[in-house]
Subunit: 338 residues, 4 copies
């Protein structure tokens, strides 16, 4: 932490700042400049997190210089990317993994059809929501445990591991008893009770970026899970909320390479929510792999026109098969496989 | 709902759209224009929420024309503002209510001092967090039930009703057993499990706007609570996340009069989080009352420099007393009292 | 400027950084910490503006500590607010000034009516656009010089000084020959050729904040004008572009008190563009004065329904008269007059 | 245009709305629903642009259904993409074009070196700013005409056509007399005087998206140029301003495929400004081609550490050569060449 003093700071004020910093267990280094005095704080910056430095008389500005996350930081791991295993596959290896399936588990038949279709096209995981977060209390919010049971049955049929969302800490164990990977949705990225709960389970976590979360916020959310002992976290860029009106969200593609440099956790993208439109899924998916993403999560539905949710952005089976063919080319261009 | 057709739509496609709309229980009215055909959907628009109209061939654009919330809408209530009673006071009456207190309940002594001070200056409620949402897992996250007990004791001492945050649906009953009003924080505005839970309790709810929530999203979050039977919801504008770098958040002041026209629920503002700086609290507070807010929630601490959280934006007792004097003048200018 | 080194920086790299900083005319102060080495740069930080410090091997982060503007900074002036005189009035004095009039000068008759009406209600200046920036090339873009002539005639009739927009550096002298105050619109806030041009004229400038301009950007735009010799700049908050969908722009009210602390230039608000809706003008105006604004610029039209532009947000004469009565009360509450 | 009436609209109000719409030259079609009356407006919607429909009593909401641009719209052209020729090359053909060079023309020697290097690596155009928009009036703002002369000389040396920025309408002819392609920078995207000026010149235009411009705004800016007769416009996504703090701007990748569907104009990307960091240039460039971009504009400098501007995001010659090798692979994956 670097503390920059106001021009007219007094010696007493400097002393007081030094005391406060040292009381938090850090040492200080005072540098008196022509126009400004600077107080460097040496030691563990996290200990200063609760100290309202800007409130102390004489302080002009405060500059953190250390990352606020540790377990999620790139240099925590010896490997550039930690491989997070789900079933026979691993996020973060040379193979780019694609999770595919409908927004919501609507019933057994449509899930069975979808599972077989996406497996045949080369998907590595099956997605599908049994608990659905919906902006309106009047919208369909999922089949709950019945949906989880359907997912488990389709896993038996297809061999595909299952990723599905958990929204309520009270449901975490239940969902984990059926699912291979737990999804934390964008709206719950800072639901700290939920993050702590999945941090105590030994199930890989797919953590989606919140709509107004900075990338540092996302890594701190991962840190919540990891600090409870669950190190198997995969991050997912799914678009942020900006003034942009033409797409459902703004796909922050640069998040992918930025995260790949900043953390050892695998990073995937969700082109369906990012663009919100079926015809944008393929170009956004190709771009994500080109930028270094370790995989994708894509919405696919047997008949998007009749989907109970997200029909506008779901691919048909044919559309998904075409996507996978296209992706194979871009994965290879990126030095990966599909 | 109005559906605008693509230029080259066929008669069969129009028929199919009509079928889908009518299957959802609405009637249609087709209007064939020079350049566009328009399909008006007559009836309860909410029934079309799950239908992916944009996916249907021939559809160019879809325009909702009804509000997606009912209980929260202005015309649900005979009165322009529903008064939400907490203790002896009511949010939404002629008196503007001020809730004041520290960000976190740090201990018994500081709460006692703060309670007495804010009561003396004219606060109507005491605020203080026992469960704290923190971006980092390494930050102080509150005294939990011990904090609730302290709050209850200070209520006895001062007579001030208590507003405090609930973060986890599992804690909702516990918090409600101590608190007079339940706060839902910005990060949990779309934590639907939590909204449903507090919707089942008979305790007034202070619902803060999420950092990237539109005002419609905020009203839909209120609708979650209300649709479970708890109609006592107070909305709170606390700043949104934008490119603006100079203040902690961007205080969306226009939210106050917009909401006052759109809903019958009382609307208050949180100038402490909006500005993030002690010296901005007074001007933002004055502005909120001038724009029609029904009250404020303000951070006050006996010694902001030593606060465990939000010290930079907390007022001292003197600062709060000065604020209340200033507010009295602006409340009067707005035809209210303090 | 403070330069924070990467953990593994070498002595040679430190030397090289020092050389580069000293070559720009500053001195350095090296502080070697436990986890980080910090290089403080002492002297005129502006000289480092062009040096790509982040590109130099060994550099982790760079923290400017000085304001990038000088003439616009609060401590450049002995007075807290510089009074910018226009006609008999001064922006920044105890009286809050209101500029009122239509979006566009549409003709002589409507301007004459409007001028008389707003003067009678107590406006201090008449606004009206002769050159109009329009998002579409097919929209009405103003009467040009004919509009300026009309404005000048209404000034004679009413005694109100005129504020009107200049969009093209080639028109600056022409506009200045008719107008008492030159408006720079939001879209031109970083039209540097235009800023330099009005900086060479001795006419007060009303500088509107750009839709995505930070407050530092706004002050740097003012600095462009001032650095050419024209110190008579009034800043205007008119709403920024965010995800917010319910109002035309997001009125960043906190900009008013933030600027009042950061600069000596007067600060006004434009509630018409901020809210985009007639019924929001009064609450936003009251809030602006409550937060310390030195005045307002408000759209008024004899018959908003027939206005050629911005009709939805224009007040009628009666509406403006009501506004002025309300404002008088809030101005007084703020210790000012109207 | 579709006009939705308030619930309680009267027959007289409907008649009045009809009159106003018909006065603008459109016909109306009234559809009386259960809860709402809808007035469809048939004919050229642009004629209603200036009519403040929301101001008319009885109007609840207004829904445009036609695109506000014509010349820029996809269906204006028989070909999916119009090829914009610059020198021997064409933006929008099978070959993806790369413009490369320094942010600013700093002198003859560095331009000569850069021109030769980027030509050798396969660039199609040379970029370099002679007139530079700078946020601060104290920053280096270019060599002006001397810079243009240097650019022209390097064109002779290397055969590369030149793209360079024009900021002031008074300089447009001068810049066009030296340059092969005129760049309009992000800050000037809505400098309508400048857009009109380059619309009258027969030089291809590279139009960069403004920092807070929607894609519709960008197409309307192109429409300004085209409506003056210059149809040779290439659009450029260069990042928008959002809350995102980790990169210089937020690269809105989805803009590329969205624009490719919406307009016949070629679309390129600027990965240097989007990411603001040298190590993000390659992944963002690969992603842009994968998403269908017709080319790139990239900053390259002989010695980025000593660059007078944008050094942090400029590639070295080696870095650019590596980029071009990588791009060739992704161009091929996208069915294009480099």
């Amino acid at each position: 932490m670097i503390i920059v003093a106001r021009k007219n700071i007094t010696a007493d004020q400097i002393d007081y700042i030094r005391e406060r910093v040292e009381a938090a267990g850090l040492r200080t280094h005072i540098s008196i400049g022509e126009t400004r005095t600077i107080i460097g704080c040496i030691g563990d910056e996290a200990r200063l997190a609760g100290v309202p430095l800007l409130s102390i008389p004489g302080v002009y500005s405060v500059h953190p210089v250390m990352r606020p996350y540790k377990l999620a930081a790139r240099d925590f791991s010896a490997d550039p990317t930690t491989v997070v295993r789900v079933g026979d596959h691993g996020f973060g290896g040379t193979k780019c993994l694609v999770a595919a399936g409908p927004c919501s588990v609507e019933g057994s038949g449509m899930m069975s059809k979808t599972g077989r279709a996406v497996a045949a096209s080369g998907a590595s995981l099956l997605r599908g929501g049994a608990f659905k977060p919906r902006t309106s209390p009047y919208s369909f919010d999922g089949l709950k445990e019945q949906g989880l049971k359907i997912l488990a049955r389709i896993r038996s049929e297809t061999g595909l591991p299952i990723v599905t969302e958990v929204m309520d800490p009270r449901d975490a164990e239940l969902v984990a008893s059926y699912a291979d990977m737990l999804q934390i949705g964008a709206r719950n990225m800072q639901n700290f009770a939920l993050l702590r709960e999945v941090g105590q389970l030994q199930r890989p976590v797919l953590l989606k970026r919140g709509m107004s979360a900075t990338l540092k916020d996302l890594l701190l959310a991962a840190e919540y899970v990891m600090s409870r002992g669950n190190m198997q976290v995969v991050l997912c860029e799914r678009g942020i909320r900006t003034f942009g009106a033409e797409t459902r969200n703004t796909f922050d593609l640069a998040a992918v390479p930025w995260l790949k440099k900043e953390t050892h956790l695998p990073v995937i993208a969700d082109p369906s929510h990012a663009g919100g439109r079926r015809d944008l899924v393929a170009p956004l998916s190709y771009a994500a792999l080109a930028a270094g993403a370790d995989g994708l999560i894509v919405e696919v539905h047997p008949d998007p026109e009749t989907a109970l949710s997200d029909g506008d952005q779901s691919l048909t089976f044919t559309g998904f098969d075409d996507l996978m063919r296209g992706l194979a080319v871009f994965a290879e261009a990126a030095g990966r496989s599909l």
